[in-house]
Symmetry: C2
Subunit: 116 residues, 2 copies
DNA sequence: GACTTAAATCGTATATTTACGATTAACGAT
DNA sequence: ATCGTTAATCGTAAATATACGATTTAAGTC
């Protein structure tokens, strides 16, 4: 998928934690940054679909394209896939979503976060 | 920025709400899907930086590149920029982050969400 | 083994993104 | 008006992403 260049901020006077967090968040966000992939993650979190073919049936995309999207999501940790006979069963990783939300929340400084 | 193709799921027997939510989430995620842009959003949410030049100083990127990233973020609603004399002051839109998190949370079906 | 089915990968065309230097536009100050 | 300064835009090269048909791989069945 082409690893993204990492940006390192010369950490200012206030000493921020050394984030590779920006990279992690960017990676996950980028992987989610396509409507088909959002749809796939949602589908899998709903638990109904699981098998690759089932997903293909629900999207207006060719099998090869869906497979590519699944690969992107898998590489970014959004989903996992295990072989089940002749087919592959994909599952969303709920902890990925939790992590993603946590990282997003971390964008806001702690002082602001306490308000909500 | 190149509008992304929208995926419409043939809504199943369970009648899901007609999501353009997938599109909205994908749009925001895509915009955030680069370390430099995550860094910019974080920087602006921290409140310290604001002026474009200040942001350029903190990133290892050329002015033109930063300007492009700012444009992407602005188009996706992550930030706003208002002219202040000869310079432009960018601000993060906290409601965008809130919306983003809300959309991400919406990926998980409501039944699961009540557990946390 | 031969055959079927499911999913991944290949090859490829097109579009988009990313980055930069150079230029332009906009503003304030002289 | 002219001069700096700041930010946007232009032009462009290189890299990535997207989509599809065709092919290959893998697993199960006969």
């Amino acid at each position: 998928m082409g690893t993204q260049k990492s940006i390192s901020i010369p950490l200012g006077p206030l000493e921020r934690e050394p984030d590779g967090n920006d990279d992690e968040l960017a990676r996950m966000a980028k992987a989610l940054g396509h409507p088909a992939r959002v749809a796939i993650v949602r589908l899998l979190l709903e638990g109904g679909e699981c098998v690759c073919g089932g997903i293909v049936d629900r999207l207006p995309l060719a099998q090869a394209t869906v497979s590519q999207h699944l690969k992107v999501l898998k590489e970014a940790g959004w989903i996992s896939g295990e072989v089940d006979g002749p087919r592959v069963c994909y599952c969303a990783r709920p902890e990925a979503l939790r992590r993603f939300i946590e990282l997003a929340r971390g964008l806001e400084p702690a002082t602001e976060r306490s308000k909500s």
